[in-house]
């Protein structure tokens, strides 16, 4: 790091996250004046223009890449048109112990007097909750599934290479040409297309204006600047902001600034999930880097400093806080922007380059919470690239995570994408696969697979409440064999997947009609040529996902039933269910037997692993291929973020010996502590899943630092990764930190503020995690140190 970037990094780390009411106030002002005046797309675009025109802009001391979403770093705007924070929400956010957001009195006042009175009944969240049927609410409240769109707009979206060869003025030309070619005589949708296209055009103007305001600010600061070097920098910043993103960038610096303005625009327009991501940043920057070095206009150290400034920008942007929060809920500051390194070029050759290595060095040196990073490892990726990555991974930050680029392509080909689009795609958020710049791939909610078995064992009654939640599929005493149990499980699963998808479709329609995203549509093929919005099916591809949680826990529970109840007859099913209902009170030997002596997933034992495949298959069959309302279909993913903790808290004791309320297994990792044959066995078990038919799976491997010591440790890890990927494994990440460090950090968080650990698909500050999650990570880690 240079002195400049070290200082910017420290400022970013030191700045307190706080809520800014500015966006909410500007938007309220605009809506009061203009609601109903234009079509909805145009209204949205004009409101976005208003924000870009009026919002406070910021240019910090020593900054090179410029622009903030809020009035200053770490000031987080709100999106009351989607979700309106209540006064209680704001107070909890301000006072809660972990991941708090400061809310000052002016902000509270603005909410009380202006924002809440206007939006409390108009926000999209209220509309969605009002419209959804009672059966959906019951399932949602019982912890059967979650709903992404009750908090934030559809997102997880990633940019491709388009802004590096085109400017917004080029897109405006494409928009104008498309409008000119509309056939109002024979195309019944021509008028609605024109409104969408007009909105996209306005949104381009808004972003150009936003950049121009930064140019002016930089110029005025340059004029007042006594330091000749800084003055020069400010003049270059002004020139950059005047040129991009209106035009295609001509050098490395402009390329970064152009992306950053597009990033800010997307996350200002709406609060889409996972912010926004630059995708294959190394591939996109490489031509500018190579040409700059060759022409002598760029030095490697300069490129490095610019990238470091760029990284700080991501870290300046904590995720927008949720609404309806509880004091206990910890949340996270990370917003899941994720940079892909390596991968494949459109012609199928290796995509890693010198910028990939530069970025790995920066990730290592800066170890900021944001942006997240991953590598896309193909058969063609050199070992140098993998081993460089693993030497960073070994430090224990939990990133970069590692993806199988060849599987990522194959998964997308199965979904019907073209080979070129698949290769240009990659991963974002935690592990989600998408065609970058061409797809709206929407995660709709986590789904509690374990709860389905709990309902099946209780004839559809939720033992937590006594309510008949699911269909009556038979009492425990009526199941004569294991297949009967599995059939009941499948019926419960089918029932609740139906409820989930019915609800999803309603939400999709509400977003399509009421909450277009015109600027994101400009950046996503083929929204312009189709004259359709990103949220209404304008993208070339429109996959939607439901994410299964707890595959390890459900597999082990089924395995326990199959072995101990039906094969060994050590306990009858009704007896077992009675013990579960009592949370194993006074039956500890039985619980121990179930916990220790069941053939469990993660040990390369086909008895258990076949059950895992059976569950995967049942889930896949219920979801994959069912149409959404945007011309795409539903698919499955296997990832939890932190939802395995929440789902665990609403799920009773299970036949694998898990107690009531304990976390479920996370991702496709084995139940915490159930894998006892080492990492190759875990990988073999996970490799038996058909990853190609998912849209992403998450495997967390836990290592104690001693196992990774020396070059032998790196070689061993490298081979583990390569072998897993030969089995079509989708993703693997490594948690490397010893248990003593974690315990010390838990006891004395102030000394360990920068301790970053892998949670699930993302890394987070250990001290920001809930105590429950901290304990879970300690338990995982303890297990691997044995």
């Amino acid at each position: 790091m240079t002195g400049r970037t070290e200082r910017l990094r420290q400022e970013s780390l030191g700045a307190e996250a706080a809520i800014s009411a500015e966006r909410a106030l500007l938007l309220t002002e605009f809506y009061r004046e203009n609601e109903g005046r234009w079509s909805i797309p145009v209204l949205r675009a004009k409101s976005f223009y208003y924000l870009c025109e009026k919002k406070t802009i910021y240019l910090g001391e020593g900054e090179l890449v410029v622009g903030e979403r809020g009035p200053a770093p770490k000031l987080v705007p709100t999106y009351p048109e989607l979700t309106c924070h209540s006064l209680k929400d704001l107070r909890i956010l301000n006072s809660r112990e972990k991941t708090s957001y400061r809310v000052d009195d002016a902000c509270l006042k603005a909410y009380v007097e202006t924002v809440i009175p206007y939006w409390s009944t108009r926000s999209l969240r209220d509309k969605i909750f009002r419209e959804l049927p009672e059966e959906w609410h019951e399932a949602y409240q019982s912890g059967i599934f979650t709903e992404f769109m009750e908090q934030r707009a559809p997102g997880h979206t990633v940019l491709d290479d388009k802004i590096y060869s085109k400017g917004l003025l080029d897109f405006k030309k494409e928009i104008a040409d498309t409008i000119a070619a509309l056939d109002f005589g024979s195309d019944p949708d021509a008028w609605s297309k024109r409104e969408e296209l007009k909105a996209m055009d306005i949104s381009c103007d808004a972003v150009i204006l936003f950049a121009e305001r930064h140019a002016k600010l930089a110029e005025s600061m340059a004029a007042a600047c006594a330091d000749a070097v800084r003055k020069q920098e400010l003049m270059k910043i002004a020139a950059n902001c005047r040129w991009v993103p209106a035009h295609a960038p001509t050098d490395f610096f402009e390329a970064l600034q152009s992306y950053w303005f597009c990033h800010l625009a997307v996350i200002t327009e709406l609060n889409g999930w996972d912010a926004f991501s630059p995708g294959h940043l190394d591939q996109h920057l490489y031509p500018f880097y190579r040409d700059g070095l060759a022409a002598g206009t760029l030095k490697k150290e300069e490129a490095r400093e610019l990238l470091e400034c760029f990284f700080v920008k991501f870290n300046n942007h904590p995720s927008p806080p949720k609404v309806g929060v509880t004091a206990a809920e910890s949340g996270t500051y990370t917003d899941f922007a994720n940079i892909n390194l390596g991968g494949l070029l459109p012609d199928g050759s290796d995509g890693s380059n010198e910028v990939s290595h530069l970025l790995l060095d920066i990730i290592d040196e800066m170890h900021l919470l944001q942006p997240s990073s991953n590598i896309q490892l193909s058969r063609k990726s050199p070992d140098r690239f993998l081993k460089h990555t693993l030497r960073v991974v070994r430090k224990g930050y939990g990133f970069p995570s590692i993806f199988n680029a060849d599987s990522v392509v194959e998964e997308q080909l199965r979904q019907g994408k073209t080979l070129a689009d698949a290769r240009a795609g990659g991963c974002s958020g935690c592990v989600e696969v998408g065609a970058f710049g061409k797809e709206a791939y929407i995660l709709t909610g986590y789904f509690n697979l374990v709860k389905m078995l709990e309902l099946a064992l209780h004839d559809g009654v939720d033992p937590a409440t006594g309510a008949q939640l699911g269909p009556a599929t038979g009492k425990a005493e009526s199941f004569a064999c294991f297949d009967d149990v599995f059939a009941a499980f499948t019926k419960q699963l089918a029932h609740f997947i139906d409820i989930k998808i019915r609800g999803n479709r309603l939400i999709e329609m509400i977003y399509a009609g009421l909450m277009p995203a015109p600027f994101l549509s400009v950046l996503t093929d083929d929204c312009i040529s189709r004259g359709m919005d990103y949220n209404a099916g304008g993208a070339r591809y429109n996959n939607s996902f439901i994410q299964g949680v707890g595959i390890g826990s459900i597999t082990d529970s089924l395995s326990a039933i199959k072995e101990h109840v039906f094969q060994e007859k050590a306990v009858s099913l009704p007896d077992l269910v009675a013990k579960l209902d009592a949370d194993f009170a006074s039956s500890e030997p039985l619980r121990q037997r179930l916990w220790n002596r069941t053939r469990k997933y993660g040990n390369d034992d086909d008895f258990a692993d076949d059950l895992m495949r059976q569950v995967f298959e049942a889930f896949f069959l219920q979801v994959d291929g069912r149409p959404n309302t945007k011309g795409g279909v539903y698919r499955i993913e296997m990832l939890p973020t932190t939802c395995h903790v929440y789902f665990g808290s609403v799920t009773g004791a299970m036949p694998d010996g898990r107690r009531r309320g304990a976390p479920l297994s996370e991702g496709i990792s084995p139940v915490q502590g159930a894998d006892r044959q080492g990492p190759t066995a875990v990988i073999r078990s996970a490799g038996k899943m058909d990853h190609i038919r998912s849209g992403g799976t998450l495997l967390n491997l836990k290592f104690s630092p001693t196992l990774l010591a020396g070059e032998g440790g790196v070689d061993g890890l490298a081979a583990l990764v390569r072998s897993y990927f030969r089995m079509d494994g989708h993703h693997v990440q490594f948690n490397v930190v010893d248990v003593e460090t974690l315990k010390r950090a838990q006891a004395d968080p102030r000394q360990y503020r920068d301790l970053i650990v892998r949670v699930a698909g993302y890394s987070d500050y250990f001290c920001d995690l809930s105590e429950e999650l901290q304990n879970e990570i300690i338990a995982r880690t303890e297990h691997t140190s044995l």
Binding site: R597, P679, T680, D715, G716, A718, L720
Partner: protein, 294 residues
Amino acid sequence: MINGTVFNLQRYSLHDGPGIRTTVFLKGCPARCWWCHNPESQSPLPEIASSQNLCIACGACRPVCPNLLSREFCSGCGACADACPTGARELVGRVMSVEEVMGSVLKDRFFYEDSGGGVTFSGGEPLSQPQFLKALLAACREEEIHTAVDTAGICAPETLLDIAPLTDLFLFDLKCAAPERHREGTGADHAAILENLERLGRAQARIWIRIPVVPGFNDSVKEMEALAALAARVHGVRQVWLLPYHGSWGAKPARFGRDAAPPAKEAMAPSQESLEHYARLFRDKGLDTRIGGA
């Protein structure tokens, strides 16, 4: 069908030869090294390990044992381990067929291929079960899997030469160059071991010599100089590994009803400086020498 007694199958083993390996531990050893980390490796028979910290005192083991849980009369039938819900009682040593062992070994084939690894047969002394070992080596050769045999060299010369053509690498343990001290520390004859090592060298075997550096036994410049001179004499030695002894067996002997460890003073690990110094002694003799994990 050839059977043998195996007390552990360790997957993802990184310290017993090149790459990722599965180490197959064959039970039974003629040596009695006082520092032995694996007391369960010594007897050729299955035996029960018990871990008090896992025991919940549920009593499930009592009614199933024909010998009232007496270690003295234990036949290694494993009934108590089957009955134990927590794994506090565990049967160590299982009679397995070649096919069963190969079934486990083959599971990690991808990992061997991607890492340049394979299988290591260790013990105990794997050559104490020569027919079983030979059949396993032949099965690995058939499967194109790299093999290593970790031996103390305590066996009849023909036994060793019989398996040499089927073995890709020998991990040959040397402990001490002074015959008297060797016998004192290990209970085994030094000269026969050295002859076996030289025979292997003449038979064109690839050899890594492994030396546990044990405080109070061979942790001295004089001893290491003598061992280096010895190793340098042998044809076919590709690498030498110095394995720092660590006194970490802790509770392990107690789990097998053995007497506890030697005095704490002697259990201290050798210092990094002395290890580096010893390694230089070997390197001075032209030997590729590394300091390794155990």
